[in-house]
Symmetry: C2
Subunit: 201 residues, 2 copies
């Protein structure tokens, strides 16, 4: 599959490495091309499916740089969190409660099929869920397009994900992004980023 | 132990019934006395320890009615969530991100030893955690007073709680309250309120 990974940080690096290991043709999108990277616009135009791994505060600008024509009605997996580190650690959120980053991106590009996923875990675990409890833990996701969610589940299953929890339409991204403060607190208590929740019911 | 349960809704009813079954002397606090209920002020004056089971939007007024003298430096277990149902379902939060209900109460009554706990689960599970996965799931809590957190853990252990996750000082209540939107979404997906998370690490 031709996939664009927007963002060159640790999350983008982990995901692009995993996708290449799985045999996909990956273009990494950045503000400027070079060093094996493409521009946001070139990466988006190339791709059949995109991962948004930019920082939350820069995600809208990254998609605007990619452009509406290049994005089209492609599936965009929004991995980003709208974290605000301007007042130090722990971060607060740039948007929450009655809105979310994923909805902000969806409003700006109504045709793109945004699926929120993977934002609730650390990048190492995103691409190797089996290293924790044999993969017996849960990945929430949400989005407005049912077919897009199935595409995402199929792709992430090849990463090793076994258990998805579909929390509904894209307004569920508020809930998924508002989990981040608890993730940050749990990280402080557990002293490891390699954790996730298993839903007991 | 002499315990006040502030609030007469389903959460207050579940907790007061459990405490009485465990042999505690419980006064239920309400806006008005009668029908086996006491005023907030009388219940608070009677108690050695308090549960805040009022609705989040009414919690500050309930504690103000209880009064600073009656509250003293007692341990207050804040079970409430600042849910705003004014725009329907799902609810948003009345306060979040850079503040929380628990911190609001603590600021108003600096001597009270507020511990946030039990707000992340349904009332049936609060008082009978063993009915789910043999109690193998996690209860986050936080607060500024270490001794108060130990008191709360000891009391909740008698409810059947085995696994506590101390997420630090009371600013952790932001994270614990901001988990509620995800709880609400998971409730919609799982079609049961009897669920909780087990932390896999």
């Amino acid at each position: 599959m031709r996939i664009a990974v927007l963002g060159t940080g640790s999350v983008g690096q982990s995901i692009s490495a995993k996708l290449r290991a799985l045999g996909h043709d990956v273009h990494i999108g950045s503000r400027t091309a070079g060093d094996g990277k493409h521009t946001y616009a070139d990466a988006a135009a190339f791709a059949e499916l995109l991962f948004n791994c930019t920082s939350g505060g820069g995600s809208l600008a990254a998609l605007q740089a990619a452009g509406e024509n290049a994005l089209g009605d492609k599936v965009l997996i929004d991995v980003a969190n709208p974290l605000d580190f301007s007042k130090g650690f722990p971060p607060s959120l740039l948007v929450c409660n009655t809105d979310s980053l994923a909805e902000t991106l969806q409003r700006a590009f109504p045709k793109v099929r945004v699926v929120k996923a993977l934002n609730t875990i650390n990048n190492g675990l995103m691409v190797d869920p089996g290293k924790l409890a044999g993969g017996e833990h849960d990945l929430p996701l949400c989005g407005n397009d049912a077919a897009a969610k199935e595409t995402v589940k199929s792709l992430l299953a090849t990463f090793g994900w076994k258990h998805f929890v579909d929390v509904g339409d894209l307004t569920g991204a508020r809930a998924m992004e508002m989990y981040l403060p608890l993730w940050v607190r749990l990280y402080g208590t557990l002293k490891t980023a390699d954790f996730n929740f298993k839903l007991m019911r």
